[in-house]
Chain length 516, copies 2
C-alpha cells in the first residue's frame, strides 16, 4: 500500500524514493524505442507496468513513447532506480546518462481504431490516413501495428481514392521541396529486377541536357540494392537539404538518399517492417513512390515497370492495373506521369548488390568495352523518353540523343561533376570472399529466376554489406557447358558466403538450363 499513499487518483505523483534515472544500455533495436525497467521498481507496481506495455518517457522537455521490457534476477543489468534505454530511445530523448526520467502509461493511440477498421476490410478516408500516418511518424506504433497496417493495405486492398489519401497523408508529415523552374523531372522503377540500376545513368544523361532532376532514391526494401545503396559506393548520398540544393543549383541534378532530407518519414519507418516481412504491396508502393515524388517537387515523372514471370509485376494485366493507379494518383496531385512497361524476364547488367551494380554503372558511363549492353539500352530508353516527354529533344529523337550523350562523354563528365559536388567520388569496395557456382550440365540458359538471384545476393550480405552480392556470368539464351561458372558470390564474411552458397546449391534453381 506504500505506493498508494504517495498518490491520489487522477493526479499521480512520483515518490522521492522512486526517482528514476536514464541509463544507456547500448542495445541496438533498429530504431524501435525500448525502455528496460526493474520489475521490482516501485513505479512498476504503482502504475501497473508489465512487459510489452507502451510507456511514455519524459526527460527535460522531450517525451517519447516506448515499449517496456521488465528485467529481474541476480544478473540484472540495472541498479535500483535505473531505467535502461535502447539506442533509439536514448537518442530520441536526447538525454545525458543519469538524467531524471518520468514514466507514465502512453496515451491510448486513437488511430488504432482506424487501423482495425482497415484490417476488417473497411474503407478509410483522408482523415483516418492522416491520423494513422501522424501516429506512425510520432513513434506510437509498435512493430506488430506497422506489420498489420502494411498487410491490411496489401493485396489490392486499397481503393484508388485510398491510395490518394494515403499519399497525401505521407506528403503532409514530411518536408516538401520547391525548385526554381517549371519542369522538374524524376524517374522511378518499381523494382523486382536485380541489377536494373539505370538511375545514375539516366540522371547523368538528362542533366547533361540541362534538365533539372533533383533525384532522391530509397535504400533497398526487399531487394539486394536500392539506388541509394548503390550510389553510396560512388559518392556521399546522405545530403542535407542545403547540400542537396547547392548540388542541384550547380549541376542541375543530384543523386541523394531520400531519407536524409526526410521527404517521407512515414515511409522510412514502414520500409523497415516491409523489409522484415519481405512484402511491398502495390497500393502502399504507389503511395510510397508518389509521396516522395510530390514531396520532392517533381512535375514530370517516368515510372519503369519491369514485367516478367519472376519480376515484381508478373503480367501485363497487373502492370496495367499498377499503371492506372499511378496515373490516378498523379492526376489527383497535378503531376504529369508517363509509365513504361519493360522486359522483366531476367536481371539487367552483371552485378547484383550495391558495389557490383555500381561497377556496371561506371562501365556504361565510361563506355567501357565490358559495359553490359542491356543496362545501357534500358538507361537510354528511359532517358530518351524523359527527354522527349518534356520537349528537350524532338519527338522520336530521344534515344538517339541519349545514346550520343553517353558516347561523347558528356554523361560521364556530368556524373563525375555530380559526385564531386556531393562530396567527392568514391571507389566501390570489393568483397573479401568469393565463390563460383557452376553449371550442373551443358545446354542453353532458358530461364533465370529474378527472385532466387535476389535472394542469393541478399543471403551473401547485400545490401547491408555494400560489396556483397553476386556477379552473373550468363544471360538468357547463352550456351553453357557443365562446370562453367554461372555466377560468382561475393561476401564480406565466410559465414554469409557459406550461407548464400548453401542456398544457391540446395534451394536455388535460379537457372533453367535446357537442351540446345
Amino acid at each position: 500500500m506504500s505506493a498508494a499513499k504517495d498518490s491520489v487518483a487522477g493526479d499521480v505523483v512520483v515518490a522521492a524514493h522512486d526517482r528514476l534515472v536514464a541509463t544507456r544500455t547500448g542495445i541496438d533495436t533498429r530504431g524501435e524505442p525500448v525502455v528496460y525497467l526493474r520489475n521490482d521498481a516501485a513505479i512498476a507496481r504503482s502504475e501497473g507496468f508489465a512487459a510489452l506495455a507502451r510507456i511514455r518517457v519524459c526527460a527535460n522537455g522531450h517525451a517519447i513513447d516506448a515499449t517496456l521490457f521488465t528485467v529481474s534476477g541476480p544478473r540484472c543489468m540495472l541498479a535500483p532506480g535505473q531505467v535502461g534505454l535502447s539506442e533509439a530511445a536514448f537518442s530520441a530523448l536526447d538525454v545525458e546518462e543519469g538524467a531524471a526520467l518520468t514514466l507514465s502509461h502512453a496515451p491510448a493511440v486513437e488511430s488504432l481504431g482506424f487501423l482495425r477498421a482497415k484490417v476488417y476490410g473497411q474503407r478509410l478516408d483522408g482523415q483516418a490516413f492522416n491520423a494513422i500516418i501522424r501516429d506512425i511518424v510520432g513513434g506510437r506504433y509498435m512493430g506488430v501495428h506497422l506489420a498489420a497496417f502494411i498487410t491490411a493495405c496489401s493485396g489490392a486492398r486499397l481503393s484508388p481514392d485510398e491510395i490518394v489519401d494515403l499519399t497525401g497523408a505521407m506528403v503532409d508529415v514530411g518536408q516538401r521541396l520547391q525548385w526554381p523552374g517549371k519542369c522538374i523531372v524524376d524517374k522511378h522503377c518499381v523494382g523486382g529486377l536485380p541489377g536494373n540500376r539505370t538511375t545514375p545513368i539516366v540522371v547523368a544523361i538528362v542533366a547533361a541536357h540541362g534538365l533539372t532532376m533533383p533525384k532522391t532514391s530509397s535504400r533497398a526494401i526487399t531487394s539486394p540494392a536500392g539506388s541509394a545503396d548503390t550510389m553510396e559506393t560512388l559518392a556521399p548520398v546522405d545530403l542535407d537539404l542545403a547540400t542537396m540544393r547547392r548540388v542541384v543549383e550547380r549541376e542541375g541534378a543530384c543523386l541523394a538518399w531520400g531519407g536524409s532530407v526526410s521527404l517521407s518519414p512515414a515511409d522510412d519507418i514502414l520500409i523497415r517492417v516491409e523489409r522484415a516481412l519481405d512484402i511491398d504491396g502495390e497500393g502502399q508502393l504507389v503511395a510510397s513512390v508518389m509521396s516522395k515524388k510530390i514531396a520532392a517537387g517533381s512535375t514530370d515523372i517516368l515510372i519503369d515497370i519491369p514485367v516478367g514471370p519472376t519480376a515484381k509485376v508478373r503480367s501485363r494485366a497487373a502492370a496495367d492495373a499498377l499503371e492506372a493507379q499511378f496515373q490516378y494518383v498523379a492526376q489527383a496531385f497535378g503531376c504529369r506521369i508517363q509509365v513504361l512497361q519493360t522486359d522483366g524476364s531476367q536481371p539487367i547488367g552483371r552485378g547484383v548488390g550495391p558495389a557490383l551494380e555500381a561497377r556496371d554503372v561506371l562501365a556504361v558511363l565510361k563506355c567501357s568495352a565490358d559495359a553490359p549492353a542491356d543496362l545501357r539500352e534500358r538507361a537510354v530508353l528511359l532517358a530518351g523518353t524523359l527527354l522527349e516527354s518534356v520537349g528537350a529533344v524532338a519527338a522520336g529523337q530521344g534515344q538517339v540523343e541519349a545514346s550520343a550523350t553517353l558516347d561523347d562523354g558528356r554523361a560521364w563528365r556530368k556524373f563525375q561533376a555530380i559526385c564531386e559536388a556531393q562530396g567527392g567520388m568514391r571507389v566501390p569496395p570489393v568483397a573479401r570472399h568469393r565463390q563460383d557456382v557452376f553449371a550442373p550440365r551443358s545446354g542453353v540458359v532458358r530461364r533465370i529466376d529474378n527472385r532466387l538471384i535476389a535472394r542469393a545476393a541478399k543471403l551473401a550480405g547485400a545490401p547491408g554489406d555494400k560489396a556483397a552480392g553476386l556477379f552473373l556470368h550468363v544471360k538468357l539464351g547463352d550456351r553453357v557447358r557443365e562446370g562453367d561458372p554461372l555466377l560468382t558470390l561475393h561476401a564480406e564474411s565466410p559465414g554469409e558466403l557459406a550461407y548464400a552458397l548453401d542456398y544457391a546449391r540446395t534451394q536455388g534453381q535460379a537457372f533453367e538450363i535446357g537442351e540446345d
Copy 2:
C-alpha cells in the same frame, strides 16, 4: 581477416577465442526468444550478424531460433564472450548459466512464402497452412510475421475451405483428447459482451444432469476477461492432462485453461499478438474455437453469438455468415453443432473483469437475492439448449430443467465439487482502489456501449489484475438522476485507476442518457 582464417567456406568453424557462453539477462519479452550479442564479438563479424537478424542458438542438444539485438558501448551488460538470453530463450534452451552456445544464421523460413501469398490475396491449401502453423509453433515467426498472418486472415479473407484447413493445421500441432462415452458436450461464446460469463454456470448445470463436459477455456484475447481468467479466481485452472482426466472422471466436467493442456499451441501464440493488435478476425476466430473443440474431443457443441450494435457481431447478417462458417467447419470434422444468436445490446451481469464476474457467477449459482437476472437467464437458455440437443431432457423442457437445477442447489453443489476436484475453491480477490463514475444528467439509459465498457475495464487493469475491472450500477431502460453512480472502477494501482477514470471521463460516452 582473422575471423576468416578460422573458417572455410561451407563449413564454418568457431575459433577458440570466440567461445560463447550463456548469460541469463532476466529480460522478460513476453515469450519471444531474444539473444543479445556484443557487436564487437568476432562471430558478429565472421557471420555478418546484425541487429534484428534471426539466429539459431544451440546448446547441449537444444536449438531455438531467436531475434538478435546487438549491444555496444561502455555500459555494455555483457562481458566479452557472453551471449545474453531473454527469459523465454533461457527457458526454451534449458541451459545453465555459463553453458557453451553456438550461434548461426537461422535457416530460411520457407513457409513465409505462403504467408506472403496470403498477404497478396491468394488462397492457401492445407499444406500451406500446415507449414505456417508448424513454423509458428516452432517459434520461427517474429512478432511482425504473426501480425501479418493475423491481418491477412482477417476481414473475410479466409474462404470456408481455408478455415477448415487452418483448423486442421491447428489441431495437428497440439494434443488431442479422447474421452469415454459417445457424447462430449461443449459451449463457446464468440465474445464481445462484457460480463457474459455463463460458462461456469452452464457447466455446473449440465454436469449435474450427468453429461460429460470437459470444458477448456481461453484467457481473454481482446476482452477484460476470458472464462479461464474468471475461473482462476475461483479454483486452479492450470490443470495438466492427468489432473483434468481425474476431475472429469470424478465430476463429469471440469473448467480448465486450454493452454495448460496444449490443445492449440498455435492459437496460444497467435492470441498474444491478437491481444496487442486488439484484433480477432472471424475466420481466425472460427479456426481457433473449432481447433480447440476438436482437439478437446467434443462431439456436441453449442455456439453463442451475441448480436448488437456494439458487440463483436453487429448485425444479423454478420451473425448468419459466422454461423455458416461454424457449421461448415463442424461438418468437415464430423461434429454436431448448434448456434444461438443472442441479445448483445448491453453487458450481462454487473461485474466486468475476472473477479467481479466471478462474484456474479457465484450469486447466480447460490441463487442469492442480488444475483443478476440476465446472467441467470442467459445461462439457463444455453444449458437448456444443450440438455435438449443431446436428448438429456425432453424437447421443450430444457430451460425448465436447467432452472430447477439452479433452484434446488444441484448446480451449486456440482460447481463446488468441480472446484474442489481442481484443487480447492478460492475467494475472488477485491481491488485495493475504487472510484465511482457518475451520471452527468438525469434521464433514462438508452444505450450502453459494450466496447467502451470493456476498454475502461481493461485500462483499470483487467484481465492482468484479477481484481480489476468495473461494476455496473445501471442497465438499459433504468432511470437515473444526475450524480447517481453509473459504474465503479476497480483497480490494483492508483496509476491504473487514474488512467481508466481519465478515459471514462473524457473518452468514454459509454452511456447514452435520454429524455424520460
